[in-house]
């Protein structure tokens, strides 16, 4: 198995898709800032090759909140690679976050 760090697809691996995340938080509340910090930290450690994280403040972009059907804060959408996964909570349960982001298989190997 190739390590996620080797992004150059020399072996016949499925083309790795860059991780794309959308995080809904409520302004600058302590819970939200803590969640953002925890997510960044986690992704930096597990996705060193890089990822895209878009942060949406529910008060600033309510129309996006409506269109994405967000109720809980924080809510994280793993947009890519497919399938889309939805995570709610402040990421304290790290194994579940990693599993939802698709890192559980690499841990097993």
């Amino acid at each position: 198995m190739s390590s996620p760090t080797r992004v150059h697809a020399r072996e016949e691996e499925p083309t790795p898709v860059r991780l794309q995340l959308t995080l809904f938080v409520s302004g600058a509340s302590p819970t939200s800032t803590r969640a953002v910090r925890r997510l960044r930290d986690l992704c930096d450690r597990h996705f060193p090759s890089g990822y895209d994280l878009e942060i949406v403040d529910i008060y600033q972009q309510p129309e996006v909140v409506v269109s994405r059907g967000v109720l809980a804060v924080p809510t994280l959408f793993k947009e890519l690679p497919l399938p889309v996964r939805v995570l709610i909570g402040d990421f304290t349960d790290e194994p579940r976050v990693l599993a939802a982001l698709g890192l559980s298989t690499s841990k097993d190997s």
Partner: protein, 576 residues
């Protein structure tokens, strides 16, 4: 049973009433005396499929279209598209309302699975509501339903509860009139301990099955600061959405029509002032089994078709082909009218659907076919599987509806054996304009049909009981035979009439016979007189001859005596 005074609370202090927002739901605004409390949340509770979402949506649509109060519909029960297509059938165009900025629908399904990774709150719920309300300047909101929200965050009921309370108090602060739907639990109005926070106004919707027929009920359980109807009211989901049916909400402002319609039975028109019934009136034909109720209904139908009018015939006991065959036997050609597109049948077993659905079907068909006459045969079978109070309340509404549309209604009603004839089980007799009672008369070993007009508003009508004859020549009403022996029907009437006819015929015959006989007799007498004269003359001449000869003999005798006297002279001459 719905009574006329059930919405009039003795403690009613009008003037001190809360401001209310009408829902536009037919009947509900009457029952709630104006609608839902303005600026407060109302809980609409009931089992799945009871019509809660529809209640909420109708409330919003009415506000948006009639009260200039834009509305927000926040739904967790499914996608917006599904909702839009669900309500399109009820004539609600969500897209148009949204484009005009009068309604905002924020709907999503809560089926998506989310992974919980730690602490969270539901701040976005509030953000969405506030966003929607501010966007269109909403005055009314609906949240549908609490149940799906609790289900989506089932691990954190306390959190959902506290977020909802925050939302409700925000709604109240903003003066928004809200409808919140929720499911009813076994022993509480609503699950999850929400009832104590939603106690301003609680409306219960129920959808229960009685004798295998589904019936819908609505009840206002609580209305803080206001009086309201306390009964359970039947309601239906018809083509215009929810409709609550309180008998009290009937207005009496239908158009009056003085045009008269033939009943199709000559003798019956005669009994009804010679002209028949009023157009747009309601006619009830009641009677026991086999009295010819359906036939009278069919006669009305046939007469209307003859005038070129359209007729809608609802049959709850016989199929179209059965009715057509049976009526053909009394020379009512219903099949011909069906072929010409003037007569429409709708035949259905009363138990196939709930009462409210039957009435909704009727209304839909009436709107589609636009008849001038509707026959319902029989209304009494509608009461199967539901309480009689419901049926009378709904029939009242139906009659009112037909009347206001100027449609003549002919209903038949079966009176169960042993019951008072002049009494309908459905208590609709007071609502009908013309009530015909079909009866059977049992005399001299026969059972004959009779018919009389029990009442007919606004016209002179006969007080007679007439005999109702069904034959292959058709339907007719004949006056019963009133003779010295009383009222006779059937063969007794026929016999009495025959005797009378015989007598009449005999007398006429006899007089001519008598005249002839007298003539003959006279001739006979004349003949006899002539022969007697002849006899007499013969006798006379004979007698004359005898007299002559006798005189001659006497003269001869006298001459002889004189001769003797002369010869004896001693003896004096003596007389004879």
């Amino acid at each position: 049973m719905v009574t006329s005074n059930d919405v009039h609370d003795p403690g009613d202090r009008s003037g001190l009433e809360l401001p209310k927002s009408p829902t536009g739901i037919t009947g509900f605004d009457e029952v709630s005396k104006g609608g839902l409390p303005t600026g407060r949340p109302t809980l609409v509770s009931g089992p799945p499929g009871a019509g809660k979402s529809l209640f909420a949506l109708q409330f919003l649509v009415y506000g948006a279209t009639r009260c200039a109060e834009p509305g927000v519909f926040l739904s967790f029960e499914g996608s917006r598209d599904k909702l839009a297509s669900d309500v399109r059938g009820l004539g609600i165009d969500l897209d148009a309302l949204e484009q005009e900025g009068r309604l905002l629908v924020d709907a999503q399904s809560m089926a998506r699975e989310a992974v919980a990774t730690g602490e969270f709150n539901l701040e976005a719920l509030m953000v969405r509501m506030a966003f929607a309300v501010d966007k269109i300047g909403a005055k009314r909101v609906a949240i549908d339903s609490l149940e799906s929200l609790f289900a989506a965050f089932s691990s954190r009921p306390a959190l959902v509860r506290s977020e909802l309370l925050r939302l409700f108090s925000w709604l109240e602060d903003r003066g928004l009139t809200a409808v919140i739907t929720g499911e009813r639990a076994e022993d509480t109005l609503i699950r999850h301990g929400m009832e104590e926070f939603l106690s301003d106004c609680v409306v219960l919707l129920d959808h229960r099955v009685v004798e295998e027929v589904a019936t819908r009920r609505l009840r206002i359980l609580k209305y803080r600061g206001s009086t309201h109807g306390r009964n359970e009211y039947p309601f239906l989901i018809g083509p215009d959405g929810l409709e609550v049916l309180p008998i009290t909400s009937l207005g009496l402002y239908q158009r009056v029509n003085s045009e008269r319609l033939s009943t199709g039975i000559a003798g019956l028109d005669e009994m009804l002032g010679g002209l028949g019934v009023f157009r747009g009136s309601s006619v009830l034909v009641s009677g026991t089994s086999g009295t010819g109720k359906t036939t009278i209904g069919a006669s009305f139908a046939s007469a209307a078709c003859q005038r070129g009018e359209r007729v809608l015939f609802f049959s709850f006991e016989e199929s179209q082909s059965e009715i057509m065959r049976n009526m053909a036997s009394v020379s009512l050609d219903l099949a011909g009218w069906v072929d010409r597109g003037l007569l429409y049948f709708h035949c259905e077993r009363p138990t196939t659907q709930g009462l409210e659905d039957h009435l909704a079907t009727m209304r839909r068909l009436v709107e589609a076919i636009v008849p001038t006459l509707v026959v319902i045969d029989p209304v009494s079978s509608l009461s199967r599987g539901t309480s009689k109070g419901d049926v009378s309340a709904m029939l009242t509404r139906q009659l009112y509806y037909l009347k206001s549309a100027g449609i003549t209604a002919v209903m038949t009603s079966l009176t169960e054996g042993g019951n008072d004839l002049e009494h309908t089980e459905l208590s609709i007799s007071s609502l009908v304009d013309t009530w015909l009672l079909a009866i059977t008369m049992q005399t001299s070993g026969e059972r004959n049909r009779g018919l009389y007009v029990l009442k007919s508003r606004g016209m002179a009508h006969s007080n007679q009981i007439r005999e109702f004859l069904l034959s292959s020549q058709g339907v007719s009403l004949v006056p019963v035979y009133m003779g010295p022996d009383g009222v006779l029907t059937g063969s007794a009437r026929a016999a009495a009439e025959a005797v009378e006819a015989d007598l009449g015929l005999g007398a006429e015959h006899e007089s001519s016979q008598l005249a002839e006989a007298m003539e003959l007799r006279r001739k006979a007498i004349e003949t006899r007189v002539a022969s007697m004269w002849a006899d007499f003359e013969a006798e006379e001449s004979l007698t004359a001859r005898q007299i002559t000869s006798s005189k001659k003999r006497e003269q001869a005798l006298r001459a002889a005596r004189l001769e003797q006297g002369r010869q004896r002279t001693v003896k004096p001459e003596d007389g004879p």
